[in-house]
């Protein structure tokens, strides 16, 4: 089975073959001789490959995973071929940025754009206050503001929709 794996923004192709219950894993064409053992049910993993040893701490869900390896963080996204195709279509549909969501609960201090406005990539859309800090939320891509989902002084939950952008006509 083929997977598309992004590690800290860099794409890798992973081939997985199950042989006699063991997984044979090829990353970017390089076959890894892996021993993967979960130490507990909290994400501690003992991994040995080609004589090297790693203590990996994993957390996340099926598709998005954080690996802590010797203190460094690797953010990993996983798609199989079917998912990749579906996501590609989705990305095409939301070209221009799609919907920006809040990653934390907070209060909208100020809206910096109006509906219908054209914005550039990186342009601040609004200021969200959380944990005594004001965070400027910027446009992930150039586009047009299709909808503002929040008002000033509104409290938002984590994951709440903030602004929807669409591709400029």
């Amino acid at each position: 089975m083929k997977y598309f794996v992004t590690v800290n923004g860099i794409a890798h192709e992973v081939d997985v073959v199950e042989r006699l219950g063991e997984l044979a894993v090829k990353v970017d064409g390089r076959e890894l001789d892996l021993s993967y053992e979960e130490v507990d049910n909290l994400g501690q993993v003992a991994l040995i490959s080609g004589g090297r040893s790693w203590g990996v701490s994993i957390e996340g869900d099926e598709h998005e995973v954080s690996c802590n390896i010797a203190g460094h963080l690797y953010a990993v996204a996983i798609e199989d071929e079917r998912e990749r195709a579906a996501h590609a279509a989705e990305r095409e549909a939301t070209k221009g940025g799609g919907t920006v969501k809040s990653v934390m609960p907070g209060v909208v201090v100020k809206l910096l754009v109006q509906e219908g406005a054209a914005v550039e990539k990186g342009q601040p859309l609004l200021i969200l206050e959380a944990m005594k800090m004001q965070n400027e939320i910027a446009a992930p891509a150039a586009g047009v503001v299709k909808a503002l989902h929040v008002r000033e002084r509104e409290a938002v939950a984590s994951g709440a929709k903030l602004v929807t952008l669409v591709a400029a006509p």
Partner: protein
């Protein structure tokens, strides 16, 4: 010594004070908000008083509730920690008026150092060097030009009512003054309703160096050398160390003597920190923090002194019992501290919340973890994002850096993103290792660079294994291990285009 004291704080600093109390035979009393009722500082205390409420305002910031808790528990004194009520002179006064001992400086000293203008005036009078500039703000371009001649270029213009770097303009020469003044003043008016600005010499390649001081109630004061805290972003410190690479014995003696003079000028008592801006051999008074500092452990490791114990001792009226010479004779080695904050350093340091579901603490020689972390802890937006402080000691700076890298490699805090990987990247930077940095260092670092090498392949391979295991387990019902493992919210892993502006206010 006191029989019992109230620890008017939460989190790691409450536990820090409780630990010293336990070692001194003093009974520590904890206070707690509703959300903190299972917190480690509560469990480790001798007694605990519920304040009710879940926000700081309803609990740890409510002066009357805190003082009532102290009285009800039979405490003889109050230790404020840092943050919360620690620098509120009104609280210090109320504590004293309630017949309790305040483990901190007199309220007058807090006030004298709490106000920018007053403290600047006091320090100038006491012969403490301050950044050349105007004591009073100006509201007129002509007066600005005249003042600039006296101060000398380059000059920084700051809003009088501002903070956190908003509306700061750099003026390199006379020609740039008029425009800069108008825009700065205009911005200040728009933002704060007050168009007046300060002018002071712009300090190039600034380093944040601070001196730990301690005064008893009998007029004696000593310093415990310096800490360097230049690795910061928006005045939030990330890595601190003692001593500083740019401070030699002579400079230490000079800065220390001036820091003690600064404290003496305001009748200081107890522990405090005098912050300086250092640039190219010169240093200027910034402000005095009239409480214990977050980064006090690096001083403790280098001087072998328990600063909380000293705070209790002098608050109880004991004399210092040692001289400046005694203190400096104990100086040995190097110490580094890394703050472990719940935040995502790869997305503009936005706060990260969640439940701590997994903890792997570093250990071994000269590794100290000051934390109040426990499995099951909820990290919310209610409180400061600092989860832990990791401190190491070693005979020299190079060894301390290597030890900190080793300790960070052992640490794992599962359930939230933390600042730890960013600190590791700093420690791996050659310029940091050579000691060549200033307070802009972290802002100019590219934290987003993906790491190369085998670890990337290992991350990919581990994730795939995990992915396939999850898929298989998803087919089964009521799998508790799946729930335990996947507590991390998916949202917090999404790339997040946030740029943090914020207004700092570091401790």
């Amino acid at each position: 010594m006191f029989k019992r004291i109230l620890v008017a704080n939460r989190g790691e600093i409450a536990l820090r004070v409780i630990r010293t109390c336990r070692e001194m035979g003093v009974e520590p009393v904890a206070i707690y908000s509703d959300v903190d009722r299972k917190a480690l500082h509560v469990r480790m205390a001798h007694s605990a008083v519920a304040l009710g409420g879940s926000t700081p305002r309803e609990s740890y910031l409510d002066m009357d509730k805190v003082i009532a808790a102290a009285k009800a528990s039979g405490s003889e004194a109050v230790h404020p920690g840092y943050g919360f009520l620690s620098e509120r002179s009104a609280f210090a006064r109320k504590v004293t008026e309630a017949g309790l001992v305040w483990i901190g400086p007199p309220p007058e000293a807090i006030e004298a150092m709490g106000d920018k203008i007053t403290s600047r005036r006091n320090m100038k009078k006491a012969g403490v060097p301050v950044v050349p500039g105007l004591v009073d703000p100006v509201d007129d371009v002509e007066r600005a030009l005249a003042a600039a001649e006296e101060i000398g270029y380059p000059i920084a213009i700051k809003a009088a009512a501002g903070g956190g770097g908003k509306g700061i303009r750099l003026v390199r020469s006379k020609d740039e003054m008029a425009t800069a003044f108008r825009t700065a003043s205009g911005e200040a008016l728009a933002s704060f309703g007050d168009g007046r600005v300060y002018m002071e010499r712009y300090v190039d390649e600034p380093r944040h160096i601070e001196v730990q001081v301690l005064f008893d109630k009998h007029g004696l004061g000593v310093h415990f050398g310096e800490r360097e805290c230049s690795i910061q972003r928006r005045h939030q410190k990330l890595i601190e160390e003692a001593p500083s690479v740019v401070v030699d014995d002579a400079l230490r003696a000079k800065m220390g003597e001036i820091a003690v003079r600064a404290g003496a000028a305001v009748g200081y008592q107890n522990a405090g920190t005098v912050e300086f801006l250092y640039s190219k051999g010169e240093f200027y008074f910034l402000e005095m923090n009239t409480r214990l500092q977050v980064e006090h452990p690096v001083t403790e490791m280098v001087y072998g002194v328990d600063l909380v114990r000293e705070q209790l001792r002098v608050a109880a009226g004991e004399p210092l019992g040692y001289t400046q010479g005694d203190v400096l004779a104990k100086k040995h080695g190097w110490s580094i501290e890394v703050r472990i904050n719940a935040e995502d350093p790869f997305n503009g340091f936005v706060p990260s919340i969640g439940t701590i579901h997994n903890l792997r603490a570093p250990g071994g020689p000269w590794v100290r973890l000051d934390a109040a972390l426990y499995r099951g802890m909820e990290v919310s937006l209610n409180y400061d994002p600092m989860l832990a402080k990791l401190i190491v000691w070693a005979p020299d700076r190079d060894a301390a850096i290597e030890r900190m890298k080793r300790a960070l490699a052992e640490l794992n805090v599962g359930g939230v993103r933390t600042s730890a990987p960013a600190a590791l990247l700093v420690l791996e930077e050659e310029r940091f290792v050579r000691g060549q940095f200033d307070t802009h260092f972290l802002n100019h670092m590219d934290l987003a660079t993906p790491r190369k090498g085998e670890d990337v392949l290992v991350a990919a391979a581990s994730a795939i294994h995990r992915h396939l295991l999850m898929r298989r387990k998803a087919l089964r019902t009521s799998d508790s291990s799946r729930a335990a493992w996947g507590t991390r919210s998916r949202a917090s892993l999404s790339p997040y285009p946030a740029h943090v502006a914020g207004n700092g206010g570091g401790q």
